[in-house]
Amino acid sequence: MKLLFQTSGKLAAVFLLLLFGTVVTTRAQGAKLQLDQLDVLANKASETVDVRLDERLMQTTAKFFSGKDPDDAEIKDVLKGVKGIYVKSFTFDKDGEYSPAEVETVMSQLRSGTWSKILTVTSKKAGENVAVYLNTAGDQINGLVVLSVEPREFTVVNIVGPIDLEKLSKLEGQFGVPDLGIEKEKTKKKD
């Protein structure tokens, strides 16, 4: 009986440790969107880009950005603390080749309490609609999503981990992040 209690105690401790580990991991991964359901769009898209840079890869490579090159130093600074960059981008030949239901699979995740929209850029003429969402816990930024919805293009950029919004544009055109013109649009708005 004593052995049984000892074994049960050990099992309970292991279980609690596993539970704690799961909670910590879930919080860290909370800013990572589920985007695999969009993969089916590749059948209709004229061009599909899918980039996944996870935490381990980010950490391993970030330290190899030289501090001597000013561009590299800036990128290194932006990447500090970033746990992942995930991009899915679909370009279509004709309008209406993807449905609002597909956009909704992403939007529904962004409606949870931890996400808030911080910027919307709409251009009726070009049919562009770019929105930036932040995932926060108190003052801490856990992640960011840039959603670009156009008649012939649908792009989701999901950056997991703390990121300085002022430096976000440094990542455009790097690491598979498309040039979304966020900084330019922000400047235009201020003018």
Binding site: D39, A42, N43, E47, V49, V51, T61, F64, G176
Partner: protein, 183 residues
């Protein structure tokens, strides 16, 4: 004693079971990727000696990757290349299914890094990554309408960091080098 034999028998059976048909059928990612292409597109790969005998580009390409423009890919380890030439790669509007098939084949050991697809032109590039101790292994699968290439190479973290700045370009450059015959 009989119990001990039974337990020993079970352990051996489990061990053999674990190493049985599944693990022998499974390759190292490279062969799995080649097999997935063959099964999905009903094509057959050609290996380098065969192409070399036929006087085709494969050997030169492999040599160039090893010592030429892409020596950075080869500097830290071996290069493996398989070609599919003059064959028909038709996804029948189901290019996403091939992507999913490749993903499920490789996901246990390889992490997807970059994937670019152009369904209309039947062009696909898949770059997968695997930790190889202090270095990384890259598996690059490129498919076009009539040919495909599977390349596995080892890179240092420094090179990987450089490649990651424009991950799509690396796949394209490697594809071009492996598929453009500059005779």
């Amino acid at each position: 004693m009989k119990t001990k034999f039974t337990i020993a028998g079970l352990v051996i059976a489990l061990f053999l079971g674990a190493r049985g048909p599944n693990s022998f059928a499974r390759g190292d990612g490279f062969n799995d990727a080649v097999r997935t292409i063959e099964q999905f597109y009903h094509v057959k790969h050609q290996n380098i000696p065969l192409l070399a005998r036929a006087g085709m580009k494969a050997v030169r390409t492999a040599a160039r990757i090893k010592g030429g423009d892409y020596r950075r890919l080869a500097e830290a380890g071996s290069i493996r290349v398989v070609f599919f030439e003059d064959q028909n790669f038709d996804s029948r509007g189901q290019i996403a299914n091939f992507k999913a098939a490749l993903q499920s084949t490789l996901i246990a050991e390889w992490s997807p890094l970059v994937q670019t697809l152009a369904a209309k032109d039947e062009e696909q590039t898949y770059i997968y990554l695997r930790d190889s101790g202090a270095k990384f292994s890259l598996l690059v699968v490129t498919i076009e309408r009539h040919e495909a290439t599977v390349v596995q190479a080892t890179v240092t973290p420094e090179i990987l960091a450089e490649l990651m700045k424009d991950p799509g370009d690396m796949g394209k450059a490697l594809t071009d080098d492996a598929t453009i015959n500059d005779n």
